[in-house]
């Protein structure tokens, strides 16, 4: 890996002949010996094999584009976030865009969290629902970790937005849980929680929990009139969309299924 071309090579970047010599004398011998070489380069004017966007094309002579097998384009997308896609690729198809977020881990390490880049639909709320099936309280910061570390691997702001806008989640402050006072914790909305009161305290939840009546799974139906007041969770019921048994919660007459489908009355799905 050469970081960067201009710092590791004193040749004339505007000269096709000199870039040809760099390719012939350095890159080709390395390739012939079984090595991949990554040359990092600053962008400049539009070149061959790259979309004509000016600032995202390698600067200098046009032979840069011709002397590469793979060309990766980097684009900054926000605070510590950037996007990659292939501008040129021999033997492959598609740009394979990827989004990356630089993440400081709790143990002081540095990680790049990778996700599908913009343009690809991601059901972030659905992924969080699956993760919160254990009913543990978690912070948005812990949810943003890579999947292998128990998170969903996404930008923390996107996670916060999903948590704030989806009625399947509830939140409380850390002091209600004996944790960090300045942190907000999230979990799947419990059966006793008001659907649109995400600030419902943990103590209130504890009080309500004692008042729940136990209902066996076989008694759970999508007939919400007979399911209210809410039963204890988790329960399972058959999702009419997925046609499978799914964990479910019934809150204020609304049935929330783990698959993400929501029903307000028997056999009727909400339009979202």
């Amino acid at each position: 890996m050469l970081d960067t071309l201009s710092a590791c090579w004193s040749g004339e970047e505007d000269s096709n002949a000199e870039l040809g010599a760099f390719d012939r004398d350095v890159l080709k011998p390395l390739q012939a010996a079984g090595t991949s070489t990554l040359v990092l380069d600053h962008t400049g004017n539009p070149q061959s094999y790259v979309r004509r966007r000016g600032v995202s094309a390698p600067r200098g002579a046009s032979s840069k584009g011709q002397k590469t097998d793979f060309l990766i384009e980097f684009t900054a997308t926000g605070d510590g976030a950037f996007r990659l896609e292939r501008g040129k690729k021999r033997g492959t198809h598609g740009k394979e865009p990827r989004a990356y977020q630089v993440v400081d881990t709790e143990d002081g390490d540095l990680e790049l969290v990778e996700s599908e880049a913009a343009g690809d639909v991601r059901d972030l709320a659905g992924e969080i629902v699956e993760l919160l099936e254990d009913d543990e309280w978690r912070t948005a910061n812990s949810l943003r970790k890579p999947k292998k570390h128990g998170g969903v691997g996404a930008d923390v702001d996107a996670i916060k937005e999903a948590l704030a806008t989806d009625v399947r989640f509830e939140s409380t402050t850390g002091d209600n849980l004996g944790k960090r006072k300045d942190s907000t914790y999230y979990r799947l909305r419990q059966a006793s929680s008001a659907p649109n009161d995400a600030s419902d305290g943990h103590d209130a939840w504890r009080r309500n929990e004692k008042q729940r009546s136990v209902v066996s799974p076989k008694e759970t139906t999508l007939d919400v009139a007979s399911s209210d007041p809410a039963p204890s969770s988790p329960l399972t019921t058959r999702c009419l969309v997925c046609e499978m048994e799914k964990p479910a919660r019934i809150v204020a007459g609304v049935t929330y299924l783990a698959c993400g489908h929501i029903f307000v009355a028997e056999n009727e799905e909400l339009p979202f």
């Binding site: 890996m1 970081d3 960067t4 600053h42 995202s56 980097f74």
Partner: protein, 134 residues
């Protein structure tokens, strides 16, 4: 960015042409692209990563470098822009396998010079079996 399997044909190797081995292709199929890390780092290819300043080029390359060394690939990383302070801090937090990482910072490498080209080829083949991991 791979474990060396061949010597660099540098200087006195006789040049010869090898025709495509069609019977082998007929038997084995068209060769598929191999990757060190999908989808951006193919094996045995010339890869250029381009972008403006602060677009993530160096941190991405360093992270991939750490990932590849942990997978047992030898990686030579020549950094002549960010300085030792930044690179050391960054690589320590990325946790590479230091036995496979050959990091050179601000060495004055100039790949226009044949002597420096030879030094890069030699660095690629160095084994750091005596390296102690921080």
């Amino acid at each position: 960015m791979s474990t060396p399997t061949h010597e660099i044909p540098f200087g006195d190797e006789p040049f010869r042409l090898e025709p495509v081995d069609w019977p082998k292709i007929a038997a084995d199929g068209v060769p598929q692209l191999e990757y060190l890390s999908e989808p951006f780092l193919p094996a045995r290819k010339r890869i250029w990563g381009v972008g403006p300043a602060e677009a993530g080029k160096s941190i991405w390359a360093a992270a991939k470098c750490a990932e590849l060394t942990r997978a047992g690939h030898v990686v030579v990383y020549v950094s002549q822009e960010n300085g030792l302070e930044e690179e050391a801090r960054r690589f320590l937090r990325l946790r590479p396998n230091y036995d496979y990482l050959h990091l050179y910072v601000d060495q004055g490498l100039d790949l226009k010079l044949a002597e420096h080209q030879a030094a890069l080829f030699a660095a690629r083949a160095v084994r750091r079996s005596s390296c102690s991991t921080p």
